[in-house]
């Protein structure tokens, strides 16, 4: 099923037409969904992603974020999923570098361009009820409210504290689970939620009224190209350059050492979340850009002080996050 509105939006933007780099590197102008999507039955069709990515090069177009390019137009397979999956179209900065400006009933994020509902109503809802609530919301003179995508809600997460967000920008927050609009591959009755009582991202049952809602407004914008060159994936939206290689079985200190030796660093939790591809599972990642991506926890450099210092990891089995003791082992993908 295609979205007519997105079709016109895509047509207005036109096809950006990714080109091949002189050195032969692949230019991938499409977001995650450019690769084969998980089919309706939840099967993972990511196995041939590398080949498909190559074939996309000549026909990619500049679509709104989270949509995919097909036949030179922007489209999605399921309206319920449009706009809810994929990479961020904006920098993913740590809490200290954010620019959240309270403006009456809303909060404007001057880094991402998103506008947030400032206070929530304290009512836990099912996933569908949450979507309906946002769609019906009129606030701050706007009516274009929607449930945030996972990577959007991550931009107001502060996983080092409880409540896990900026309490000056968002006063008296509900430090509990909040729905995202993103649904994981292979779990049609589930959706991602973020726990603002601690910071983790989880997959939860969509039909349980167990999470709260903080709506967002604002254009998602096109996802700029990501470019693969010299063993790195350059992401223009976030400004990050990721190692295509990874290492497994490292402690936190070993992971840090590895990154330093490569002239790189460990990613933050927020940056690492951008590598999650909800359209895939095990791994929940784009294997065209990152071959042999293991469905394993990856270290972030974002800490959590629970009396002992822990670090956040993102598991690329489904894209959830958790805390891990520094002496345990996880995988690492360095970033610059």
């Amino acid at each position: 099923m295609r979205s007519l509105a997105l079709f016109f939006f895509g047509a207005l933007l036109g096809c950006g037409g990714a080109v091949a780099e002189p050195d032969g590197a692949v230019v991938d102008a499409a977001p995650f969904d450019a690769g084969p999507l998980v089919d309706a039955a939840g099967g993972d069709a990511a196995g041939d992603a590398a080949g498909d990515a190559a074939s996309d090069v000549g026909e990619a177009c500049s679509c709104p974020a989270f949509e995919r390019c097909e036949d030179a137009t922007c489209a999605c397979d399921d309206d319920a999923l449009c706009g809810t999956r994929g990479r961020a179209g904006f920098p993913l900065v740590p809490p200290a570098a954010r620019a959240l400006v309270a403006d009456g009933e809303v909060v404007r994020d001057e880094v991402t361009g998103l506008v947030w509902q400032r206070t929530t109503d304290g009512t836990p809802r099912t996933f569908e009820a949450a979507r309906a609530y946002c769609a019906a919301l009129t606030l701050g003179g706007r009516t274009d409210w929607r449930l945030p995508a996972r990577v959007e809600l991550v931009t107001i997460l502060d996983a080092e504290r409880t409540p896990s967000l900026d309490v000056d920008a968002f006063p008296a927050p509900i430090a509990d689970y909040h729905w995202t609009a993103s649904r994981p591959a292979g779990a049609p009755d589930a959706a991602f939620a973020i726990y603002f009582g601690q910071g983790e991202t989880v997959v939860a049952a969509a039909d349980v009224a167990g999470a709260h809602v903080r709506c967002v407004a604002g254009e998602r914008g096109p996802v700029p190209a990501s470019r693969v060159a010299e063993g790195l994936v350059h992401d223009e939206a976030t400004g990050l350059a990721w190692d295509r290689e990874h290492a497994e079985g490292l402690t936190f200190a070993e992971a840090e050492t590895r990154c330093q030796a490569r002239g790189a660093r460990l990613p933050s939790l927020y940056e690492l979340h951008d590598l999650v591809d909800e359209a895939r599972q095990a791994p929940a990642a784009d294997t065209a850009r990152f071959p042999d991506f293991p469905a394993a926890p990856f270290w972030s450099t974002t800490p959590r002080d629970f009396g002992e210092i822990l670090a956040w990891v993102v598991s690329f089995d489904r894209g959830e996050s958790a805390l891990l003791e520094l002496g345990r082992e996880a995988a690492v993908r360095c970033v610059r």
């Binding site: 080092e160 689970y177 009755d189 009582g197 601690q198 049952a205 349980v208 167990g210 002080d305 629970f306």
Partner: protein
């Protein structure tokens, strides 16, 4: 894992001996304790989240407005609450307490909500207060954490024997720690059973250089070495290496085990030991099974050998498959948060999953108790001379902190009258009106005082905060033991 070779094997047998070490306190402790009555011990068994009141509380004919109790000993398994049915076989040794309140934690919720920028997460507050019963440390920009020396360490201070461990903390991490040396200073916790064993028994593995081939030992050397190897080899090396031993080496091993028995006789004196601890202290621990079973055995070992008298065990997290819940459900958001009828997303299905979750932990608790109960000691068992406290940081998955589920097992040497289900009528107004009834049962702080008294600390009349204010500003005294336990 240490490499197994002939030299190491001989060393482990006590025939190489140079690299082995056993704190002399073990032998002294065994001999000294053999002369006396069994000491009283305490263990805390901590599981995460909370329970489902209608399925952990007994079908109790009494009025909720008045104190009353049930005799557990005459109840059939079908009469037990569904959550606690796995404990039915141990009912004579249980003391189930209904309607305690984690009052200090609720009082802090009131303070936090009146302030700004504080961590009011009920899990975090529950974890901070569970064993401290005092204001948490609110760390700016971070989380709330325990604000004082915890009960387990405090009891260890009082009952620990010089030269031995005052307490041991085993198991896993829920979120924040429960045990604290001081405010914002978590006490060390050991997650590895094998490391815990080495720690208990004073086993020091061989250094980088392997010992040289030993000369034939004298009998005195064999005994001295064997005392060291008794406790390290039998449990540590045997468990790891036995499957790979040759027939000849197995025979050597058996001879070594006989030597251990001889030593135990020597500890206890002629006739197999005159005291109960000498007989019960069996270092031949096999670290088999899951972590719970291993830690249960280690606790039994530590208690029976009087290496420590206080153990805190933090259980591991359950996977959904462990309690029959579908894998797509998130344990915290989907199940726990919707398991009581006051939850927005309540469903009987989630309550059922939460009940099964706690039944699984009840089965673990039963395993823990059975390990202690399997060790004869004096005229009873090790469990009889211990009190094991099953506690949770919350009352329910929906963050209640009144009607806390609490199970005491073992009589602490006859201090507690077991075989009973004791209900406490509401006696206090809650410190904070937060959607729960304001008439609540006695503060758990009183139970802490009772536990200290059971461990011989009779001069203590409070632990942590000694008073708080109720919702109306009246004083709630937290002094004195919990009535009706002895």
């Amino acid at each position: 894992m240490p490499k197994l070779d002939r030299r190491r094997f001989l060393t482990a047998l006590g025939l190489g001996a140079g690299s082995l070490y056993l704190p002399s306190v073990i032998g002294r402790g065994s001999r000294a304790a053999a002369q006396a009555a069994p000491p009283t011990r305490i263990a805390f068994f901590i599981t995460p989240h909370g329970m489902v009141p209608p399925t952990w509380q007994m079908r109790d004919p009494g009025s909720l407005a008045t104190d009353h109790e049930l005799d557990l000993r005459g109840l059939a398994e079908s009469d037990f609450s569904r959550t606690f049915q796995p404990l039915h076989s141990l009912r004579d040794k249980l003391l189930i307490l209904d309607n305690l309140t984690m009052a200090t934690s609720i009082a802090e919720s009131k303070r936090v909500r009146n302030g700004n920028g504080h961590d009011g997460n009920e899990h975090h507050l529950g974890q901070a207060h569970l064993l401290t019963s005092t204001w948490s440390v609110q760390r700016s920009g971070s989380t709330a954490i325990g604000g004082g020396r915890s009960l387990d360490l405090t009891i260890g201070d009082a009952v620990g024997v010089p030269g031995r461990f005052a307490n041991r903390i085993y198991g896993f991490r829920h979120q924040h720690p429960y045990s604290f040396a001081a405010a914002n200073e978590p006490a060390p916790r050991e997650e590895s059973p094998s490391a815990a064993f080495r720690d208990l028994m004073g086993f020091l593995p061989s250094g980088p250089s392997e010992p040289s081939e030993p000369a034939p030992p004298t009998r005195a050397e064999r005994l001295r070495a064997a005392r060291g190897s008794v406790l390290d080899f039998a449990a540590g090396e045997f468990e790891r290496t036995a499957p790979r031993l040759s027939r000849e080496d197995r025979q050597k091993l058996e001879r070594h085990r006989q030597l251990i028995r001889d030593l135990e006789l020597s500890f206890g004196g002629p006739g197999g030991g005159s005291g109960p601890v000498g007989r019960a202290c069996d270092p031949n621990v096999t670290l088999e099974g899951n972590a719970l079973r291993q830690f249960a055995r280690l606790t039994a070992l530590a208690f029976s050998c009087d290496v420590t008298r206080v153990v805190t065990y933090v259980t591991g997290h359950l996977q959904n498959a462990d309690f029959g819940a579908p894998s797509h459900l998130n344990m915290h958001q989907d199940i726990a948060h919707n398991s009581t009828s006051d939850a927005g997303g309540y469903s009987p299905t989630m309550a059922e999953h939460m009940t099964n979750y706690n039944r699984a932990y009840a089965a673990q608790f039963a395993t823990f108790l059975q390990e202690l109960d399997s060790v004869p000691e004096g005229d009873g068992t090790l469990l009889d001379h211990t009190v094991v406290v099953w506690c949770t940081e919350l009352s329910t998955g929906t963050h209640w902190r009144d009607r806390m589920p609490r199970v005491l097992a073992g009589g602490a040497g006859g201090y507690f009258r077991t075989g009973r289900y004791v209900y406490y009528a509401p006696t206090n107004v809650s410190p904070f009106s937060w959607g729960r009834p304001t008439d609540v049962g006695p503060a758990e702080s009183h139970l802490h005082v009772s536990l200290m008294h059971a461990m011989g600390m009779r001069d203590r009349d409070s632990f942590g905060l000694s008073q708080i204010e109720d919702h109306n500003g009246a004083t709630i005294s937290l002094r004195g033991p919990l009535p009706r336990l002895t």
